[in-house]
Symmetry: C2
Subunit: 426 residues, 2 copies
């Protein structure tokens, strides 16, 4: 019989605890699937004395020390793009230990370097839990949707953002209020910047883009936008036009290369992405001739994320080998292109003073920039009060719309910054 | 460098042709992913002289002969639950050749026996293309959603049925007319029985059930219903109640075992299954504590199915080993339980003669069987003409409803067989 697979877990938070519990509860089942036992031989956590509701032995205060212990696999659940997590993963790979991680920030920044190190040392570096929690999208892009060139990958990749947008739609409350409530309930971090600013989505998109297109993981070339500028008014207008507003990470093949963006998007009600509610995650893959594939499910939390970690551990146990990003790391092409000007229809909202000539002025600037309007809604309030003018444009290049908006923003009849959101084609 | 992987393809129809073309067009990419070249060393097809738009060599008239050739992998694309396909796969596995197949009928009938043979001989038997075409649901259940017990798997698994139901909804035309048009367009087979009768869905469900629950693949214990009884009227009423009618394959864990059914179902408009249109396929997996996961995409056709076959071939090339059904075939538990009585809310439609007392008679029989009604629609026509009475029941056991319907069908005021469709809970 094959010897047990020895694993060491660094980080015993929600996910690490879920892994320990699932291994204890489902040991026999996983043994049957893996063909060998999975044994925890070391753990590391900030506070070894914390009550966790499960027993573990082999504590060490220094996670990096796990990399020189007797484990075959290091499970890195510390997080962070540098620091201890990087030191541990580098040391583990250099010591010919497999690594399973949920760390998107680390891989988005050092993915190529770490994949090269893993492949040079003949060990695996697996990261299913890093993107979209329990949805096996890493496996799918790495191993399944490989026989046709992928045209685009679009994802709702941050549960906190999607939860806030869904709550804003349901309650009509403004962003700041919904965020505060989400923080109170533990659905948003005390420091929500990485989530609501789009940075976490950017990390995950970089990994999906590498898997789908073979480019080096790179967030530097992305445009990244968050959700804080959105108002309940925009969400309401979107609904009137038959759309919903979602924060998407989008990577697509264009004539000039691979374009990656994180931005708010108007998603048509008939698109499966429109129906992704609350903290769920979803990914749509346009796999060219093979058609479009859609995947959705829980993107965070103990059981779904631990499930992804355990699936990776079982694959290591089986000895199933696949290149970290689906093809050898030294064949990854250089960086994605700088995000170019998107061509799409646009949702535009202007908050204006209801004074004579304001519509003429806006229409004039749009016309000068050759932006033509498909439909428009104007809602009156009391005379002299600010009102919203909402327009949907025909397909137009982003820079033309931006030129018009810059001119319009200069008007003394227009309050605040106009809002501009692309309409997602599919 | 590792030696090329030699494959032989039996069957050069749509899928086989797609595999040959994709290997030719994407050879370099697949080489990078697989770590070795993939070389076609043999093919077999009914008509070797047929013009196919691609060149192949190594023709043999007898597909079974491929099993004794020099190929490492036999790609079985002949189809059929017995006969040549079975002979070829058995011979190949016995000769220690890996097998990649798209043959759901073969595996639904002989899955356990063939998996045992493959595992005894240390070779792989892979079948991603057998279920839901390009959607990697076999891989997902075998390798990803494994750390929590699955509660249920529900799928729209037959593109022809879903195409017909979608067309009936769009056009309002009756089943027979839409089927004839689908046949004319090539979306339905000349002999549509296996598709529209639910048999093909049953084959696929048996495989999903085995992957999800570890039971032996078995269609014998299933109740299997097709779509031919459905009328445009039912589809219209469903829509009025906020539902859509879909043919589902459902396997679920119950107190008495694993229950498997293929049946028409009322799917709530907010369920992702409701939005699966045309020939698409979809699968919803209730993975217990890890939550529900939804997967959709093209379930048939050249590129999606060939894509699944190629993903399997690349895995064999990499030497990635996983048990055929995710756990050793000798640990598969015995058969699923006989399909029990479903407890759900029910859609009931009675076509009645608009005569005094008919509603009282129906209501009386329902009440006697303790079936209580949640809502009802009656549409009037001319007096004395048949009219439809539609009811949604509260949650009731199937056998109670069936008892009432049997009594009602005996009435001389009720025309034809009453229609009875369960309302899907999620």
């Amino acid at each position: 019989m094959t010897a047990p697979l020895k694993i060491a877990i660094a980080g015993l938070g929600t996910v690490g605890g879920g892994v320990v519990k699932a291994l204890a509860e489902r040991g026999d089942e996983l043994f049957a699937r893996a063909g060998r036992k999975i044994e925890i031989v070391g753990v590391s956590a900030r506070d070894p004395k914390k009550a966790r509701g499960f027993a573990v032995s082999g504590f060490t205060a220094d996670p990096v020390a796990l990399a020189s212990g007797n484990a075959d696999v290091i499970v890195e659940l510390i997080g962070g793009e540098d620091g201890v997590a990087l030191a541990l993963v580098e040391a583990a790979l250099a010591n010919k230990k497999h690594v399973v991680t949920a760390n998107k920030a680390l891989l988005a920044k050092h993915g190529r370097k770490l994949a090269l190190l893993a492949e040079k040392n003949g060990v695996q570096l697996k990261f299913e839990a890093a993107v979209a929690g329990g949805i096996p999208i890493v496996k799918t892009l790495r191993e399944a949707l490989i026989s046709q060139p992928v045209n685009a990958v679009k994802g709702i990749l941050n549960g906190t953002c999607n939860y806030i947008l869904t709550e804003m739609e349901t309650s009509g409350a403004p962003f700041a209020e919904v965020l505060a409530e989400a923080q109170r309930l533990g659905y948003a971090e005390a420091d929500p910047a990485l989530d609501v600013g789009g940075g976490d989505t950017a990390h995950k998109l970089a990994l999906l883009s590498t898997l789908a297109f073979g480019v080096v993981p790179d967030t530097g070339s992305m445009t990244v936008e968050g959700i804080s500028a959105i108002t309940p008014e925009d969400i309401g207008f979107a609904r009137e036009f038959g759309f919903r507003i979602k924060l998407l990470g989008v990577a697509r093949r264009t004539k000039s290369g691979i374009d990656q963006k994180v931005h708010l998007s108007m998603v048509r009600a008939r698109s499966p992405l429109a129906h992704v509610e609350g903290a769920a995650n979803a990914v749509l893959v346009d796999a060219g001739a093979a058609g479009s594939f859609f995947f959705s499910g829980r993107g965070a939390g103990e059981a779904p994320t631990a499930s992804a970690v355990i699936a990776d551990i079982v694959e290591v146990a089986r000895g199933a080998f696949a290149p970290v990003f689906g093809r050898p790391a030294d064949t990854l092409e250089s960086k994605p292109t700088a995000a170019g000007s998107t061509v799409s229809a646009w949702y535009l909202r202007f908050e204006v003073l209801d004074l004579p000539g304001v519509l003429a002025e806006i229409a004039g600037h749009l016309s000068q920039a050759k932006v033509s309007i498909e439909s428009m809604i104007q809602r009156g309030r009391a005379h002299g009060e600010p009102v919203s003018i909402v327009m949907i444009t025909h397909e137009t290049a982003q820079d033309s719309v931006e030129r018009a908006l810059k001119a319009i923003a200069g008007s003394d009849k227009v309050r605040a910054r106009p809002c501009m959101i692309p309409m997602e084609a599919a």
